[in-house]
């Protein structure tokens, strides 16, 4: 057995979690690109997770069909909540999307098909390293191209000045809904992936603290390019584990890290101001 393989076997769950966290961070990043602070991503991931789990566990659907169905459902829900949410700005949008997360959590708690408070167990182990990191690589490539496209520029214009963006002929509502839909797809996909290597899902995955975790990934890594959220998701997943010797204080470290980053690196770890010259889009 090669050393690399034995390393992977020892830490496989952590490595898979890191990849999923990076996907979730990208899902919040896409709405931030368009200037929208949406905190519904944990709930969208839970929707994708429940849908995919039910399909593989109870209906023996193939993994790819389950993943796409879960992502599709989350996309549909994100679009539906996206449209009315667009009347809201800034912190009000954040509150509304948090409330949406609570609604999802309570529904999952009370439905039979979602297994109530216990959630679903015995989900088949179908996801491997290549699934998670293959999808992450595709997503990263997607964002690399998106940032250099007309659509990406429309997002950035809306983020900087909605009125000016409209005066440039940009359909603000359309692009905001599009950002929400992409966010829903990525979140739903990551939910579908994670249930197939944790084998369980329960309502707490739509909770407030999960939603905030996802935001911290993006803030920690920085939102100037898609690399920031990816790095943030991976580092903040690995960090608490590598600090196990601190015992119960280790969770404190995540908070402390975030405080330090927001004070000393307000644009995140991967800020273009720190890595000058690397990021020239035009």
């Amino acid at each position: 057995m090669t050393p690399l393989l034995s390393f992977y076997n020892a830490y496989s769950t952590l490595i898979l979690f890191s990849g999923v966290a990076a996907l979730l961070a990208l899902s919040i990043y896409v709405t931030l690109m368009a200037g929208q602070l949406s905190l519904g991503n944990a709930a969208l991931a839970a929707i994708g997770g429940y849908a995919a789990a039910i399909l593989t566990r109870d209906f023996h659907a193939p993994l790819w069909a389950a993943l796409l169905s879960g992502a599709g459902l989350a996309t549909a829900v994100a679009t539906i909540i996206g449209i009315p949410s667009l009347r809201l700005r800034g912190v009000y949008l954040a509150i509304a999307t948090l409330a949406f997360g609570e609604v999802v959590r309570v529904i999952a708690l009370n439905l039979t098909i979602t297994g109530g408070a216990l959630g679903l167990v015995g989900i088949p182990p179908l996801v491997t390293f290549w699934h998670v990191y293959g999808i992450l690589a595709l997503a990263a490539f997607f964002f690399y191209r998106l940032e250099r496209s007309r659509t990406g520029r429309a997002f950035a214009a809306i983020r900087e000045d909605e009125t000016a963006a409209q005066a440039m002929g940009i359909r603000v509502t359309y692009y905001k809904v599009l950002a929400f839909a992409i966010a829903g797809f990525l979140a739903g996909l990551s939910g579908g992936l994670s249930v197939h290597f944790t084998y369980i899902i329960n309502p707490s995955q739509a909770s407030f603290s999960e939603a905030v975790n996802i935001l911290t990934y993006a803030i920690f890594g920085g939102t100037a390019t898609f690399l920031g959220p990816i790095v943030g998701g991976i580092v903040l997943t690995v960090l608490p584990e590598s600090l196990r010797f601190l015992r119960e204080y280790r969770l404190l470290m995540n908070g402390a890290t975030l405080v330090l980053v927001t004070i000393y690196l307000p644009h995140g770890v991967l800020s273009p101001r720190l890595w000058r010259g690397r990021h020239a889009r035009v």
Partner: protein, 498 residues
């Protein structure tokens, strides 16, 4: 091409535009003038879809466009610039223009992700076109700088380039010359003329600079209190009695010539000061004096460093070398709030009133650093001096017109009972009559003993008002002297007076 037919706009009880009708024919350049608060920008917002007319109709090339979304109207071929400049400040100059191409490009997200040839060709065309437009407005060399870092006049030109990128047939310009010096204004006037000649554009513009309006417009419509009070050729409008009374003001608008004051003891002294943002110095070893009782003017081209100098005195830009003394005490290391506490009031360019607070709250905020009990007395005298502000004292500052905001910004600065008042472009975006009033106020304040450091694009007015003046060029002091001498200086006239 454009017809406004009995258009009215009411905000609650306030009628901002009152039954205005006018038309713009293809290929015309039409000016829209009138005092601040007359409803000019409101009318622009109606035409471009940002506001809906309460009654009346707007037609563009025969189609009714009232109530359409702004992006649809842009797609139809109407582009605009904004009075209060709305660039994408964090993006580069080039990116701003590239975004302007949005509506004229078609590549889908899928094509972009797959880097399809169609997408690549389109991107190359977009960049090429954006470069051409930047060259047209003279910003080619600045393509990769952040838009927010450009001086005011260049930001205005960038907004024009960005608007042109949408391929309009009708271009609406909202105070394009505000913040430009005479040389830049001449270049702008030439640009506007060439847009019609070479690109076949029809142009509707709001402008206070009468040289621009009289120079390029075929026809002028005049608004006052939301109503159209006159329309005609520049000559007809200029001699119209109602227009002169409402807008242009009498000949003596600039206030009587004042007695020049010789420099007393130094209030403010800069010695060998260098300062700037990031790694680059904007000011290079600059020295300057403001004496007791003086009005000192600082003139120079856009980007010369005038605003930076004021910001350095205020402590908003750190100085890298040299000394800054206020009444003999060094302040170059002091924090901005301490400098305000020592009696420096800085009225910034572009006003920067606290937009969500009322007029009264803004004025009280100006007295924040004071501990004495006469704040209420000063508040009362301020409202007396600025009757418009008294009328609007409970109004939210962001809803005031440009001129009213400028008055509020000056009044707010005065609330700190400054021992030195620094004014950055007080005439920016103001109607001629209001400019006369503001400069009257400046002289009156000075007569009561407040020394003033004045930065002003309207160099003529600045030199007429000031005792002493400095000329700043590329961050260096190149000339100083008695203001009236500079007014007669041939090289100064050529460069800044037009």
């Amino acid at each position: 091409m454009l017809e406004c037919d009995h258009v009215s706009v009411a905000f609650g009880g306030l009628v901002a535009v009152d039954d205005v009708s006018f038309a713009v024919a293809e290929g015309e350049i039409v000016g829209l003038i009138g005092p601040n608060g007359a409803g000019k920008t409101t009318l622009f917002n109606v035409i471009t879809g940002f506001l809906r007319a309460t009654t009346g109709r707007v037609r563009f090339r025969g189609d009714a466009i009232g109530g359409e979304r702004p992006d649809r109207i842009t797609a139809r071929g109407i582009a605009r610039t904004f009075q209060n400049i709305r660039l994408f400040r964090e993006m580069s100059v080039l990116e701003n223009v590239v975004i302007g191409r949005h509506i004229r490009t078609r590549a889908t997200l899928l094509e972009a992700v797959l880097a399809a040839p169609a997408h690549r060709r389109e991107e190359a065309r977009v960049r090429l076109r954006a470069r051409e437009l930047l060259d047209l407005v003279g910003l080619g060399p600045r393509a990769h700088e952040p838009a927010g870092s450009l001086p005011y006049g260049e930001q205005r030109r960038l907004e024009i380039a960005r608007a042109l990128a949408t391929e309009p047939r009708l271009l609406l310009l909202d105070e394009p010359a505000a913040g430009m010096n005479p040389a830049e204004t001449r270049a702008l006037t030439a640009l506007i003329g060439s847009l019609r000649r070479d690109a076949g554009l029809t142009i509707l513009l709001i402008e206070h600079d009468m040289k621009v309006v009289m120079g390029v417009c075929d026809r002028i419509a005049v608004l006052n209190f939301g109503r159209k009070i006159a329309e005609g050729t520049p000559l007809e409008v200029r001699t119209d009695a109602a227009v002169v009374e409402a807008y242009l003001g009498g000949r003596a608008a600039g206030a009587p010539p004042r007695r020049r004051v010789a420099a007393g003891a130094d209030v403010l002294a800069l010695d060998d000061v260098s300062a700037g943002y990031g790694p680059v110095d904007v000011l290079h070893r600059v020295s300057l004096r403001v004496g007791e009782g003086q009005i000192v003017a600082l003139i120079g081209a856009n980007g010369a460093g005038k605003t930076t100098l004021l910001r350095t005195v205020s402590g908003l830009v750190p100085s890298r070398r040299g000394r800054i003394r206020l009444h003999g005490a060094s302040i170059e290391r002091a924090r901005p709030e301490r400098i305000v506490g020592r009696g420096v009031a800085h009225v910034p360019e572009g006003r920067q009133v606290l937009a969500r607070m009322t007029v009264l709250e803004n004025l009280r905020a100006g007295a924040y650093a004071r501990r004495d009990r006469e704040v209420e007395d000063d508040l009362a005298s301020m409202l007396e001096r600025f009757p418009v502000l008294r009328e609007r004292r409970r109004q939210i500052a962001g809803t005031l017109s440009g001129g009213e905001q400028q008055m509020l910004a000056i009044a707010r600065g005065l609330m700190s009972r400054p021992r030195l008042l620094m004014l950055d472009e007080p005439s920016l975006g103001l109607a001629p009559m209001i400019v006369g009033q503001i400069f009257g106020i400046i002289q009156e304040l000075n007569a009561r003993g407040v020394p003033i450091l004045l930065v002003e694009q309207n160099a003529h007015l600045a030199l007429e008002t000031a005792d002493w003046a400095y000329v700043l060029e590329m961050g260096r002091m190149v000339k100083q002297g008695e203001a009236d001498r500079l007014l007669g200086d041939a090289s100064v006239r050529r460069a800044y007076l037009g």
